[in-house]
């Protein structure tokens, strides 16, 4: 490694030459960054940032639970689709419970905190029982985005199309029930159903992207790009576009720089997304 102060030309050339290695992981990272950036606008504005943290943990728990079962029943080959299905099940169930229900007797944060800490502990306990797959934990939690199968990229693409379609078709309902649920309910709108649909998209996006990127970058992409767009003073509709672009730029730049500087990919993506938040705040300040 030649330090972080410059991008070594040799490393960059090496990166460009190894296109068949990074093609799919980079595409998966970019697509994930865009999707999570867009969804993050709701996550941030609804003040449910820690719901997304809990969901990423629940999704990881689903993955660990499947690995455990596979080991215990002596399944020799890994079944990626089953692992993903269970991760989706955990995440969607968590999304519907934590996101769509507004408890009256307990602060919502209590449920979210409990889900996060219990899921985190269960992941650690589950991994401690794994014999063969324990080494994958680092990748699951902090992300590596180095080896992404083409099938995973296809799944991310399908989920992205579904999520964007839902948000485009029902933009006004999702915005209204999120902004002012009390009025929406008083005017006869099925607020719980719209909330459930919104959190279904978030609950779907998290496990499929976490498989490629890891839990930490997923949490970051659901938070930082939207925070950057909103800190920069973007209006509601524009914030989706800006957050999506920031997600793409952070994912792409993070991937490339982590390669040439030989540093962890997920953390690099997060660091770059964080720079955009600072830039957003500066833009707002200069605009005043």
């Amino acid at each position: 490694m030649n330090g972080l102060d410059a991008v070594p030309a040799g490393k960059l050339a090496e990166f460009l030459a190894a296109r068949e290695i990074w093609e799919i992981p980079l595409a998966a990272s970019i697509l994930s960054g865009a999707l999570l950036g867009v969804l993050g606008v709701y996550v941030v504005l609804r003040r449910t940032v820690f719901v997304s943290a809990a969901l990423t943990q629940l999704s990881t728990l689903g993955l660990v639970a499947t690995l455990l079962v596979e080991e215990r029943v002596h399944i020799e080959t890994e079944h990626a689709s089953e692992q993903l299905a269970v991760a989706i099940l955990f995440s969607v169930a968590g999304a519907l419970l934590l996101g769509a229900f507004r408890p009256r007797r307990l602060p919502a944060e209590a449920g979210v905190g409990a889900a996060w800490v219990v899921a985190s502990a269960a992941v650690v306990l589950g991994v401690s029982q794994l014999v063969h797959a324990a080494h994958d934990l680092g990748g699951m939690v902090f992300g590596n985005a180095v080896a992404v199968p083409a099938g995973d990229l296809a799944v991310i693409a399908v989920v992205a199309v579904v999520c964007v379609a839902v948000h485009a078709l029902f933009a006004k309902e999702l915005a209204f029930v999120s902004f002012d649920p009390e009025t929406a309910l008083s005017l006869g709108m099925p607020v719980r159903r719209w909330d459930a649909l919104l959190f279904l998209t978030i609950g779907l996006a998290i496990p499929v992207t976490a498989r490629a990127l890891g839990a930490l970058p997923v949490f970051a992409f659901l938070t930082l790009p939207a925070a950057a767009a909103l800190a920069g003073g973007a209006r509601f509709r524009v914030a989706f576009a800006i957050a999506g672009v920031i997600g793409v730029l952070s994912a792409a730049a993070g991937y490339v720089l982590s390669w040439v500087w030989e540093i962890p990919t997920g953390a690099t993506m997060v660091a770059i997304a964080a720079l955009f938040v600072g830039a957003g705040a500066l833009v707002r300040r200069r605009g005043r």
Binding site: L45, R47, K172, D180, E182, A184, R235
Partner: protein, 263 residues
């Protein structure tokens, strides 16, 4: 002989509450076209619960909610319940009033935008259409939320504590606006307030609500401002006087029913 006017919406022998537990029972409340009803009572007394039940947003524990025909409703929540962090313009907020009437597959069109423009002009905030909602003053936000409710072209306007946290001038301005809407368009208004004085000069009927006393009493303003009725609500004597043409309500020393006076 008085002609029977079918109510827009009514609660009949209703038991009102949450999770199957009734906070208030035997609630009879009918809102006729052109009514101006204020629900008054202490904070946390169950006023908002009553209007949620009246709008069908909260299932009744018992009794009946009667809606003889579909009614266009405008709703104004407590403005503290609307998070100003959302980066909407005042015009975008007002446009939301049209969403329930559109259904999920239609997008707002020219007619919807016209209705919003008219509603914003009615409450005097048309010049703020492009201003960020979060950067408006409390009074401007309140007017924007009223404009949103009016954008639905309602027959019934329901407001939850519309003057909460306002200074006296802003409170008067908001109540004058509601009076104007009521007189001008024959709009039925149901509003909640914990301040009797704020509504005593405007409403035509009052309902006293206090779940702790299991109290729900409704009647015409004159009857409800009598010392016995006020004493039942506040548990102490309350006097009503007229000063410069306006009713002033204030507590006095003694036991309920002893000193209540009416102008």
């Amino acid at each position: 002989m008085t002609a029977y006017v079918s109510p827009l919406v009514a609660l009949e022998r209703a038991a009102i509450g949450y999770g199957g537990r009734a906070l208030l029972e035997g609630v009879d409340l009918a809102v006729a076209p052109g009514a101006f009803l204020a629900l008054v009572g202490p904070n946390g007394g169950g006023k908002t619960t009553v209007i949620r039940s009246l709008l069908g947003a909260l299932p009744l524990v018992g009794g009946h909610l009667v809606r003889p025909r579909p009614v266009r409703v405008g709703y104004v929540p407590q403005r503290e319940h609307v998070d100003p962090v959302w980066p909407f313009t005042a015009g975008e907020v007002a446009l939301m009033g049209r969403i329930p009437g559109l259904g999920p597959w239609r997008r707002p069109g020219a007619a919807d935008r016209d209705a919003v423009r008219r509603a914003m002009a009615t409450v005097g905030v048309e010049h703020l259409a492009d201003a960020p909602y979060g950067e408006l003053s409390g009074g401007q936000r309140q007017r924007t939320l009223i404009a949103r409710a009016l954008a639905a072209e309602p027959e019934l306007l329901v407001l939850d504590e519309p003057t909460n946290g306002m200074d006296p001038a802003a409170e008067l301005a908001t109540m004058d606006l509601l009076e104007e809407l009521h007189r001008g368009g024959g709009l039925a208004i149901v509003m909640v307030s914990h301040r009797l004085e704020a509504v005593a000069n405007y409403a035509r009927a009052l309902a006293f609500v206090d779940k702790d006393q299991r109290l729900f009493r409704v009647g015409l303003l004159e009857a409800m401002l009598r010392p016995e009725a006020l004493g039942a609500l506040y548990g102490r004597p309350v006097a009503v006087r007229e000063v410069d043409g306006r009713r002033v309500v204030y507590p006095v020393n003694g036991r309920a029913g002893e000193h209540g006076r009416r102008a």
